[in-house]
């Protein structure tokens, strides 16, 4: 369960990223966060993974009080929340296999466990034939699937996706959405920030709409209600 309660993030008196946002996300839910560019979608994602702290309000996730979380607790939070980005954030000097394994190495997992999990995850995202490829040898869709595999490798409770289809052509977009839907069906909570209305309309999941930093709609359905 994720709970945002009266969350406000101000960068200055005039620059308000989000204002008095309150919503909750149940375990296993698929939530779209929609809105135009600059509405505050990415800020919500950054607040959730504690890349930023709110100016006021509280954010809770499972046993974590994200606002009060000590820096030493941050790695534990980040292992429970997988993240994927529009620009993939893959490491160009590493192969597909190494990029995925990296997340487990960081978590201090044993080499045998890493190999087993990465092999399984590669199969899941259909990248086994590309496991030795470097990121510049991949298509946009393959890069995003690698990023999803890396985000999922530590078996997080939540997968957060910030515009994951923003850099992809329509056919690849759909691949990624299907993959995210599949992951959600296995029980992982998905929070996806997007302004791709066709994607939101096709899935008919819960949508919260942000405009000018304020939550203007929270309902199941399409992009515009």
């Amino acid at each position: 369960m994720i709970v945002f309660e009266s969350v406000t993030k101000k960068y200055s008196a005039n620059i308000i990223a989000v204002e008095d946002i309150t919503f909750s996300v149940s375990d296993g839910e698929f939530l779209f966060v929609v809105g135009p560019s600059g509405a505050g979608k990415s800020t919500i994602i950054r607040l959730l993974i504690r890349e930023e702290l709110p100016t006021s309000g509280s954010i809770k996730f499972g046993g974590f009080d994200i606002v009060k979380l000590k820096p030493s607790g941050l790695p534990h939070l980040r292992r429970e929340i997988g993240v994927i980005f529009q620009d993939f954030k893959l490491l160009p000097a590493k192969t597909v296999y190494e990029n995925i394994a990296f997340a487990m190495e960081v978590a201090g997992k044993a080499s045998s466990e890493i190999k087993k999990s990465v092999d399984y995850m590669l199969e899941l995202v259909d990248l086994t034939p590309k496991m030795k490829s470097f990121t510049h040898q991949l298509s946009g869709g393959e890069k995003q699937r690698t990023a999803i595999a890396r985000a999922m490798i530590n078996d997080p409770q939540v997968l957060v996706a910030d515009e994951p289809t923003g850099n992809l052509d329509p056919s690849m977009q759909w691949d990624i959405i299907q993959l995210l839907n599949k992951i959600n069906n296995w029980g992982t909570t998905i929070i996806m920030a997007t302004h791709a209305s066709d994607v939101v309309n096709s899935l008919q999941k819960r949508v919260i709409a942000i405009e000018g930093g304020k939550l203007v709609r929270d309902a199941r359905g399409g992009y515009s209600g």
């Binding site: 790695p75 993240v83 490491l91």
Partner: protein
């Protein structure tokens, strides 16, 4: 734990290899720092040896009037010096002993003259030595006061200027060593800071991803701290090797230079250089190098990581 250590070591190794030119520059700067520091330390150590030797040799010689002085008066002066409770050593030289020393000296130089020397004309004397130059000053003051009150003291030999010069010389060397070593140490920290900072910039994406996937602070920071420490250790060992090579070259290939140097400082005890002493010096420098490198790296990481 062992697994994490292996990965940290592997990452540190990769950083060094992938930034080979920067790594080399850092090691050379560290080596230069330690080399100059070593030269200063050797100079300081040598100067201390010389000072200790001269402090041991420092003395005041009091020549008494052979016509008027009595044994009782000499004893009185000695007692007064001893009453100061300073670590002094007094050697009394009687007229007869002075005669023997003088004749022996003349026999070596001009034997013909030694026959004409009269024993009674040579003054008895006392030599006062201290282990500390500053104490000698107090003794000199006391003896001058005795000389002022009595005509039994003919002359007091006290080379105050020489002692002062030695003292000042050592102080300057000590100060210069401290200033230079601190200065060079600071430069080394800065160089490692910059080097690691550049390496951190080139690894900014890796670090961001590590943070996003839940890398602990230790996992992220330790390879960089280790990298700096390795630069320091390598630099320190390289400098020790250079010093050892220079020492070997001077003592074995330029024997005439070494011989003239040692004859110039004849009488000054040379330290006994053992394998354990060399090992301890190299170890000490390596530890110091590791510390400087690690501090430089830590500062770089602190300024780059949120």
């Amino acid at each position: 734990m062992i697994l994490s250590m292996q990965r940290i070591l592997k990452t540190a190794y990769q950083h060094i290899v992938r930034n080979m030119k920067l790594s080399l520059a850092s090691v050379l700067i560290m080596a230069l720092t330690f080399l100059i520091s070593s030269i200063f330390l050797i100079a300081l150590f040598g100067a201390n040896l010389i000072l200790t030797y001269f402090e041991g040799q420092s003395q005041i010689i009091v020549f008494f009037n052979p016509d008027t002085v009595t044994t009782a008066y000499i004893q009185q002066v000695e007692n007064a010096v001893m009453a100061e409770n300073l670590p002094v050593h007094i050697t009394e030289i009687s007229k007869e002993e002075a005669y023997k020393i003088f004749v022996s000296y003349l026999n070596q130089q001009t034997p013909a003259i030694s026959q004409s020397v009269n024993e009674n004309k040579l003054p008895p004397s006392i030599e006062v030595r201290t282990t500390n130059i500053d104490d000698l000053e107090k003794v000199a003051t006391l003896l001058y006061s005795y000389q002022a009150k009595s005509n039994s003291i003919d002359n007091i030999l006290y080379y105050k200027n020489v002692e002062n010069f030695l003292n000042e010389f050592i102080k300057v060397i000590r100060l210069a060593a401290i200033v230079f070593i601190s200065f060079l140490g600071s430069i080394s920290v800065l160089i490692v800071w910059i080097t690691i900072g550049i390496a951190l910039n080139s690894h900014a994406d890796d670090i961001e991803v590590m943070q996003l996937v839940g890398g602990t602070k230790i996992y992220i920071e330790t390879p960089y701290i280790l990298e700096g420490a390795i630069y320091g250790i390598t630099g320190a060992i390289a400098s020790s090797v250079i010093v050892a090579i220079v020492y070997e070259v001077i003592t074995h290939f330029y024997t005439s230079v070494y011989a003239s140097l040692t004859s110039y400082f004849r009488g000054i005890p040379t330290p006994h250089i053992t394998f354990i002493l060399i090992f301890l010096i190299v170890l000490g420098e390596a530890v110091l190098g590791a510390l400087i490198g690690a501090i430089g790296s830590y500062l770089a990481i602190r300024s780059k990581l949120r």
